[in-house]
Symmetry: C2
Subunit: 152 residues, 2 copies
């Protein structure tokens, strides 16, 4: 399931491939992912803030997408708002951990989407190193929207 | 000056090259930049939120960097915090406009950096289309930090 989403990301969101994002694990409350430093490095030899931001954004998006897929929810997921703090520079590979800030009932979400209504979810994403030390934290809001039509 | 910074970005922050970021104009209060949709596209055919976030982050960073260069300020610039709102999807090339939220006196900044103190600046960045319609807005805080040592 993770592998198939990663293939989808690589073919539909080319930047995820350039960043060498790798989805690692998923359960209904958490998704973890990682990316090597080199394609995401900055002029100071640490992780580029733009890369870490993009990786955090797509990690939470992937968490929501896999929850929707699990419950056969046919919806688009779009980011609406986020807030990020960078505590210190990360001079090593990037690890991401995306969580929901509360437990969402995806059966209820499915019901709502089938009634052509959207649903807003809140996630918290951490940028950590291999030892789980925290370098950056993001709070992000996404909207799950009924698909208007199938893509061609 | 812009061309030389763009070369610097391409060689030191590889993601800027993958996103095909192009710095367009600079004066001491505003920097504009652009990037084509294709390398920054998402699964819905619109601009990937991670790309737009990264492009907004590097646009304001470039504004500050060029102001520092203009005033011979030898400093690192790091992002500390940001807040972004995405109003609507952009199905076309991305244009960025980065501004300071107030007028900073970079002569005073230089004095401060030379005394080995850091300086925090606030920027507002807009993601717009070719006709200047707004799709996303970011408020971001950066810290200008005295360089500890020259890079090798």
């Amino acid at each position: 399931m993770i592998k198939s989403l990663q293939d989808f990301l690589y073919s539909h969101i080319p930047l995820t491939k350039e960043m060498r994002l790798e989805l690692v694990s998923f359960n209904e409350s958490t998704l973890t992912a990682k990316a090597p430093l080199l394609p995401n490095i900055n002029d100071k030899g640490s992780a580029f803030g733009g890369s870490s931001s993009a990786l955090m954004i797509i990690s939470a998006w992937s968490l929501i997408k896999l929850c929707c897929d699990t419950h056969q929810i046919n919806a688009d997921i779009v980011i609406h708002e986020n807030h990020t703090q960078w505590q210190k520079p990360l001079y090593d590979d990037l690890f991401l951990e995306a969580n929901f800030t509360e437990k969402y009932n995806f059966k209820a979400v499915k019901h709502r989407i089938e009634k052509n209504k959207h649903f807003r979810v809140q996630c918290e994403i951490k940028l950590v190193d291999v030892d789980a030390n925290i370098y950056s934290t993001m709070t992000a809001y996404y909207v799950i929207i009924p698909k208007k039509e199938e893509s061609l």
